[in-house]
Symmetry: D2
Subunit: 287 residues, 4 copies
Amino acid sequence: MAKTIVTAALTGVLATRKQSEYIPYTAQEIAEDGKRAVDAGASILHIHARNDDGSPAYDIESYRKIDEAVKSLCGDVIINYSTGAIGIDRETRIHHCDALKPDMAALNMGSMNYAIYSPKHKKFYHDHVFENPFKDIGFFMERMKASGTRPEMECFDVGHINNVKPMLDLGLIEAPLQFSFIMGVLGGIPATTENLVHQSHQVPQGSHWQVIGIGRKQWRMIGAAISLGGNIRVGLEDNLYMPDGSIAKGNGACVEAGVNLVHLMGGQVASIAEAREILQIPVKQTA
Amino acid sequence: MAKTIVTAALTGVLATRKQSEYIPYTAQEIAEDGKRAVDAGASILHIHARNDDGSPAYDIESYRKIDEAVKSLCGDVIINYSTGAIGIDRETRIHHCDALKPDMAALNMGSMNYAIYSPKHKKFYHDHVFENPFKDIGFFMERMKASGTRPEMECFDVGHINNVKPMLDLGLIEAPLQFSFIMGVLGGIPATTENLVHQSHQVPQGSHWQVIGIGRKQWRMIGAAISLGGNIRVGLEDNLYMPDGSIAKGNGACVEAGVNLVHLMGGQVASIAEAREILQIPVKQTA
Amino acid sequence: MAKTIVTAALTGVLATRKQSEYIPYTAQEIAEDGKRAVDAGASILHIHARNDDGSPAYDIESYRKIDEAVKSLCGDVIINYSTGAIGIDRETRIHHCDALKPDMAALNMGSMNYAIYSPKHKKFYHDHVFENPFKDIGFFMERMKASGTRPEMECFDVGHINNVKPMLDLGLIEAPLQFSFIMGVLGGIPATTENLVHQSHQVPQGSHWQVIGIGRKQWRMIGAAISLGGNIRVGLEDNLYMPDGSIAKGNGACVEAGVNLVHLMGGQVASIAEAREILQIPVKQTA
Amino acid sequence: MAKTIVTAALTGVLATRKQSEYIPYTAQEIAEDGKRAVDAGASILHIHARNDDGSPAYDIESYRKIDEAVKSLCGDVIINYSTGAIGIDRETRIHHCDALKPDMAALNMGSMNYAIYSPKHKKFYHDHVFENPFKDIGFFMERMKASGTRPEMECFDVGHINNVKPMLDLGLIEAPLQFSFIMGVLGGIPATTENLVHQSHQVPQGSHWQVIGIGRKQWRMIGAAISLGGNIRVGLEDNLYMPDGSIAKGNGACVEAGVNLVHLMGGQVASIAEAREILQIPVKQTA
């Protein structure tokens, strides 16, 4: 059984301190909570930038501050930046990758409804079309190729995985391929073990994949992913709560729970160096 | 093994007589080719309207002419109108259902990339985001409910099937539910037997479903659907070619091949009356 | 998510104290280790009888001593006796159930090779045909029906699950049905998440099921089962080791690890009373 | 889509002329009906020997007569002899392969209940344990290796496929591997498309497989297999009836129906030469 790679999604941009006081906002907070995640076993940090009031930031300087703080505190951890946003032009979504050349960046692989429905209040709270046509997918792939950034291909349904095929044919991306299966967003594939098994069968042989479970089914999906030999993502971006329903007191606590799950299922967690070797992402030499 | 219900998708709007001289355009042509389909074993006709030059028509009068001609020639066949179109406002996509109260109409259950890629020419020929947010899904459901029209829920991926759940919770749709699994469009779920089995496991118990295979894998998907006890759709909208690769000389020929497949796998085809009973769609009494 | 029912398989008959000093042999040892399992969260105890030297015992008196000791120490815990044995006549395999009328007893649902192969030594250590023809399955079902004992149907492959169908047709068994999927025995279905998902799809609707993982993949299979909403079995009969590879210091430790897994995946463990209600096995009134 | 290889199972030993007058018994009858099968598109003939009264024959001479007659009438067709029998010693089950060195021979890969149950009469008509322990599997593999005969590994359940692994480890068999999934025997895996998809996922990459559907679900399973890119087996051994329920008037008619199915699903049937190339079974040079 290969070692499990643990990603911590530290902050996201949707939830705020009104929902959890533990969400890091500033570069320093992100780096410090990232450090706790790394100490607990994370080898990849997935990061969105925020302004000091918690609102989303897309400027290069915000990311540069994070980059410096994280590299200062978290050693060789694999850095993975967000590029996803609704209503933001694609240049702004990628320019920090050009500038900072992170190890990895998220890349959305298809379009879908992205919605939240409350059965209790019988209404939709969000009802967006999340648009990621092929011309945008290709745009992001080209830019990531130029900056030596590995795309973390985010797939919300079966078709999204298949969308890699024309990109491979066009030479816009090459093996090793790395997929994330996001499960549990209304509009995309539901969070069930059956669906996770099915997704894991769709990727080209030799690809890496992790599960990203949204909301309270996250922990169950993580257990399913470990049993399948996949990698896992935890952290406050995806779920503010611990398995027992209590508020997660920071990303360190989330990673600790994920690592415990790996151990209780008889597995082992990859160190940063092991994760870099498995994923073939060597440390970048800076001049 | 339940009897198989065969739908003929007579014309669509994408392919033209440049690609196949057998595509019916006018109301009279549609009704006559529909008659051949019915004689060969179809019990449902899925119909788009066209202008006399083959371009898509959305006006009520075009549909009314088709309605009269089909009812005149094809007896009690179940009539199923299109409501799908890219770049047409939703009022125009539904007004013919208000006016003509068909037995059934197609209803797209989610958003996705809708693309065509040519490996030979290394380019995309289409690259659209097919937008069907929940507010539109709800809009069409309400209007179909008002006209006593059964939604044929078109699902291009796993999440699209799940999208029915909030609609059920809101009372916008009720059992019996009827799903179509469209397979093989780039952006949606690929046309494989594994994927069809998976889709068939996603529907609420007691639901009806059919497969719609796009392009040359259509016949293989139809065979898979029959083996699973599902219903099938054939016709020039989905595939201009016979199983042996020759041009299909009309919808009658397509239905005949589909019916032969059902028979060769030990099954039987439902008559119009049997299809109406299975699907619980009685003949509408006109004043 | 329904509560998870945890069974502890306390002792089995294959492993001995040469392999683990923690295996209970005598009635008193079994009851005391059962108590630790119950305290840790088990609501069902699966028990084989042993002689004081650890060899398998099939006589009623051995089981009677266990019955008294367990009932004395473990309250209303659900008692599940073994009936499986190679080379023992079927009367001897069931007579303790006639006499003691346990809540539940294991019942093997099919035949298979039952083997152990060592890749290291390039040889088979066991190579038996485990024979359970339908006439024996029916024999055990009739006797369990007479003693008011719920069959725990042990299935080592897909066909074994299907074998319940003629038995249902003959009235030899009735709902609620309870299945165990044993995974990882050479000759039967391998221990993979894909296989567990597949097995879980085979049971008649409304059935209960648990996973029994043999050997070092046990913990991974337990995680997969929890993610699917199934029940789990732990204990020294199935696996002498903890998830980290260290020797398990008794059944209490095994149950504790299983319960932790349930909790870390966001679930809850059923109490004895809850397990009896879920499975519809009321406490038997003794005169 | 690779070409489909069609095997005709000409006669078996269970059914007799009381059930169908078209079953060939003698060497000459077998060769003549084999010729009709080949002319209709079969490239492999699976053959059991019979005495002139239709009872099973196991002697070398009976097989030698068949061998000569078939080679005389059916050109380079791939010859596949049975080795399966209940209650016959294993030497007798293999000696014709030693003597005649056929291209291929069937080899049972596991043990199971082999039963027939009549819901109508509420009774079992057969209830055998079909015993194939590993020592027998190894015995047959060694002998087939010595005679240059490709094992057609017959698998009645998931575990049977996995049983090839220790044999590979022991060097008793080598790639290319060839599996048959027998579906629909009570005791083994039921004949469903879900089960066939699952079986097809279990074989080592690069393996060949065909479906063998027993009884009236045969034609449905054949359609499912074609959709999955697998090979198919038809013929009077497996099913005496055509898809429409009428009696099959010989193996030629069975093959013709199978070939029609392949064609109607858009596929093509391999010639004998193509089948030999795909399976890597060259024509044996006789001195």
